[in-house]
Symmetry: C2
Subunit: 316 residues, 2 copies
C-alpha cells in the first residue's frame, strides 16, 4: 500500500478500524495467519458515485453499502467474514467531514458484522468518488457454495422479499413515493444474509444483485439445469405488491436486493427453514430445477408460461 | 463480485487469466486453500488515469505497472506472490481494444511473476479509468519484514539505482529528454525486487514509492531510530548523475522507483550481497541507523550535514 501523504487522515480515521494484521496501516502490506484447516473465500466489489450511489448520498451510507455488498458475496458462498481491504479515490476538494462520515459508517458495520480493516490505498481523483473493497471470509474445506451446484429436482428458495431494493432506488430518484423512507433505506442498507448453516443443506447459492430473473438465469446456466420460477410465489413486500403483475416478470425486481438464491433438495427443506428461523430470516420456495438445458422460464399460478422481460442491471 | 453484464468481456479477456480458485470468474467469490503453515501478506494499490498514469498511456502498460506496484509491496515484506483480485472502472466509451490490451499486459506479467487472477469487479464510471489490485503473497510464519524493525547499528541498503522513476515521468511529460525511451520505460515498468532471501538477513524493509528521503524517513520514524543517509553513496544511473547535486537531497529522487530500502546489520552484509547477486540485483549501502529520535538526515562525502528538501509524492 502506498497510502501517501494522507498519513494524518489515515491515522485519524482509518487506523482505529484496523485489525491486528493491518499493522496499524503503516506498513507496505498486511500480514495474517489464515485460520487453520479452512478455505478462504475472497471477493471484490467497487462502487462509483453516479453509478452505484447518488452523488448526494451520505458518506456513512456509502461505506455501509460498500461493506454489505461485499459481505453478501461472502454469505452467498456459505462463508463467514473476517477482514477487508479498502481503496478510496476521492476528489481533492472532498472535505475532512466526508472521511469522518465514511469511517463512521465502516465502524458501525464492522461492529455489526465482526470484520476489520487490513489495509488498502487512498488516492486523489479528478473524477467521482470511487471506492472498492476486497473482503475475505472462511469456510470449511470444500464447503464453499457455488452457483453451479444446482441439480435437477432441487427447489429454488429465496431469502427475505424481492424488489424493495429497486423500489428504494426509484424512491431516491424521486420516481416513487416512499413516505417513511423505508424503501430508500432498503436500497441503502441491504442486509447480507450471513449466519445461515447452508453446508450440506444447499447445493448452490448466489446473491441477487442484478435482478431475480437475470441472476436466477445465471444459476440455471452455470448448473446446466432448467429452472422454472413460480412467479406467484415470489415474496414481495406490501410496497412491492402495489407494483403490478409485471414487476417481477419484467426482470427489474431483485436488483440491489442482495437476497440469496438457494438450490435445495426437497429433503433438506426443513433444515433450511430451521437455520433460517434461527437467524430470523424468511425463506420462500419460488421455483424448481429440472433436467434440461440451462435456462430460466416462469409460470403463473395456474402453471401457464409467462414471458420474461430482460430487465436487470448491466453496466455497459 | 458482481461482474454484471460485461459477461462476454470477462469471459473473453479475463477468464483466461484466472487461477483455479477464481472459479472461472463466474461465481460470487473466489475460493482458495491457503498454503499450509505460512502467513499471508496482503496489499492493495489503486491507480487513476491523470493521477498515477498519463491518460494516453497504453492499457498494456497500465496493467503491468498496476501489478508491479502491488508486487513491490509483497517484495517489501519479504514475501512471495500468489494471486490478485482486480477492480476496473472505465468510461462506457472505452473500446474493446482497451480491454484486450489491458488483459495482454496482465497476462505478460502474470507469466513473468507467477501470479494469477482470483476475481474482482468491473464497472462503468463517468470519470477517468480507475483500476485497483489486491495482491496476496505468502511468507514463513513471523518472517514478514516490517518497516519498523530497523535497529541502531544497522546499515541502510538500497536495491538498484535511485531516481530513474521520476526522470521517466518527467520524460513522459516532455520535461526531459529521453532519446531511447529507457527512462520512460523505467517509470512504466518498475521491477519489483522479488526473490531476495531476506529472512534472517534484514531487520526491516520497505519499497520506495514516494521518494527516497520521504520513505527512508518513514522507516526511521516507524523504527524509532535515527537515520543518516550518505548522499554521495546513493546509486544513480548515468541519467541521474546529470541531474545535479540537489537531485537526491531535494527529495524528488526515488518517487516511482519501487526499489527496496533494507535495514541490515553489518554482520549480514555478505549474506545480503550474496542473495542479491543470486537474483542479479545490485545492492548499495547508503546510510546508517543509530540510537536517537526517529528521523532522517543526510551528510555529504566529507560527513558534513546537507539540508533535505521536502519533495516526494503526496496525494492531497
Amino acid at each position: 500500500m502506498s497510502l501517501p501523504i494522507e498519513f494524518t487522515r489515515i491515522a485519524k480515521h482509518f487506523a482505529p478500524l484496523a485489525a491486528t494484521g493491518g499493522l496499524g496501516l503503516t506498513d507496505d502490506a498486511a500480514v495474517i495467519t489464515p485460520p487453520p484447516n479452512r478455505d478462504l473465500v475472497i471477493t471484490a466489489d467497487a462502487m462509483v458515485a453516479g453509478v452505484h450511489f447518488l452523488p448526494s448520498e451520505a458518506p456513512e451510507s456509502v461505506a455501509r453499502k460498500l461493506l454489505r455488498v461485499n459481505l453478501s458475496d461472502i454469505a452467498a458462498m456459505g462463508a463467514e467474514p473476517l477482514y477487508y481491504l479498502l481503496t478510496v479515490s476521492v476528489p481533492r476538494d472532498v472535505p475532512e467531514a466526508w472521511f469522518k462520515g465514511f469511517a463512521r459508517g465502516l465502524a458501525a458495520d464492522q461492529a455489526r458484522y465482526g470484520v476489520s480493516l487490513l489495509g488498502g490505498d487512498s488516492t486523489s481523483t479528478p473524477g467521482p468518488v470511487t471506492v472498492s473493497v476486497t473482503m475475505f471470509g472462511h469456510v470449511a474445506p470444500g464447503a464453499a457454495l457455488r452457483r453451479s451446484g444446482a441439480k435437477a429436482g432441487d427447489d429454488l428458495w429465496v431469502t427475505g422479499v424481492v424488489g424493495d431494493g429497486v423500489l428504494g432506488l426509484w424512491a431516491l430518484r424521486g420516481e416513487r413515493n416512499d413516505p417513511d423512507g423505508s424503501l430508500a433505506n432498503r436500497y441503502r442498507f441491504p442486509e447480507p444474509r450471513l449466519g445461515l448453516a447452508l453446508a450440506g443443506v444447499a447445493h448452490a447459492a448466489m446473491d441477487i444483485s442484478d435482478g431475480l430473473i437475470q441472476d436466477a438465469g445465471h444459476m440455471a446456466r452455470a448448473s446446466g439445469v432448467r429452472l422454472v420460477i413460480e412467479l406467484a410465489n415470489v415474496p414481495l413486500s406490501p410496497a412491492g405488491r402495489t407494483e403490478g403483475a409485471d414487476f417481477v416478470a419484467s426482470g427489474v425486481a431483485g436488483g440491489d436486493d442482495y437476497e440469496l438464491l438457494l438450490a435445495v433438495p426437497p429433503s433438506n427443506a426443513a433444515a433450511l427453514q430451521a437455520t433460517a428461523r434461527a437467524v430470523g430470516v424468511d425463506v420462500t420456495r419460488i421455483g424448481k430445477f429440472s433436467a434440461g438445458p440451462g435456462d430460466v422460464s416462469a409460470v403463473d399460478m395456474a402453471g401457464q408460461p409467462i414471458e420474461l422481460g430482460r430487465g436487470g442491471w448491466s453496466h455497459f
